[in-house]
């Protein structure tokens, strides 16, 4: 089972990105792929700023403007057979009180992994999903910062980083 980073989905839809072919191939070939609400949020953020593309898409499918982002997100999930898993619940943190579970996981992981905030949050979602019973063994990404930390990620989460590269010219 794999966790798919947002960067792979965006690259698969980015006709200018040299990693598009490998991103598409990974999304088509890989079985049992999971995404988190953080992936959906990053996707929605990228989509929502492509106003012209969204307007053109809404016109083409005869949809009202306000539903085109959720419709596109659902299309992407189904198109690439990505399964979204919701996280339930909060956890107690000593002296801080109740925090949303992925943020507790992020705080726990921060002492083991030296990565930027959004990367840390993706890894925290993986940790939370694993703790919730998902057997995630791979993180598929094009973000090189994950690859640089792959040894520490393997030690902390027992998850292998699969970093996709661009096709040769």
């Amino acid at each position: 089972m794999s966790y798919v980073d947002t960067s792979v989905i965006i690259a698969a839809l980015d006709r200018l990105d040299p990693r598009r072919a490998s991103a598409l191939e990974a999304l088509e070939k890989e079985e049992d792929k999971k995404v988190s609400e953080l992936v959906l949020t990053e996707l929605a953020s990228v989509l929502s700023r492509r106003k012209e593309m969204l307007q053109e898409l809404a016109t083409r499918v005869g949809a009202r403007g306000e539903i085109i982002v959720p419709a596109t997100l659902l299309y992407i999930l189904r198109r690439f057979r990505l399964k979204y898993r919701r996280i339930d619940g909060s956890k107690k943190v000593l002296l801080l009180g109740d925090l949303y579970s992925p943020f507790v996981a992020a705080i726990e992981l921060s002492s083991k992994l030296k990565v930027k905030t959004l990367d840390l949050l993706h890894l925290a979602y993986i940790k939370t999903l694993i703790e919730g019973g998902e057997e995630i063994r791979k993180l598929i990404t094009i973000d090189e910062d994950f690859e640089r930390e792959k040894k520490a990620i393997k030690e902390a989460l027992n998850v292998e980083v699969v970093a996709l590269r661009g096709s040769p010219p």
């Binding site: 006709r15 539903i67 299309y75 198109r79």
Partner: protein, 81 residues
């Protein structure tokens, strides 16, 4: 409390479960009842738009979403160069 639904509504609910929006039919029905009839109509519109996106892909032979340049944008926003 038994609830009888039309086949079309049940198919839409099953689609939402398949997408992972809800974990089960019963969770979906509970949430959709809470959200009300107006939002169910909106969910139906969203599912129709999704089907039309698949139709567009079948007709054009290509995914109808072009995010050219977005990968670089995403990585920059994550603090990468």
């Amino acid at each position: 409390m038994p609830v009888r639904l039309r086949d079309q509504e049940l198919r839409q609910i099953d689609q939402l479960v398949e997408y992972g929006v809800f974990r089960s039919r019963s969770e979906a029905i509970r949430e959709l009842v809470r959200l009300g009839i107006e939002n169910l109509a909106q969910a139906s519109d969203i599912l129709k738009a999704v089907e039309r996106l698949f139709e567009a892909e079948r007709n054009e032979g290509e995914i109808p979403i072009d995010l050219s340049g977005a990968t670089r944008q995403l990585l920059v926003e994550r603090g990468k160069r």
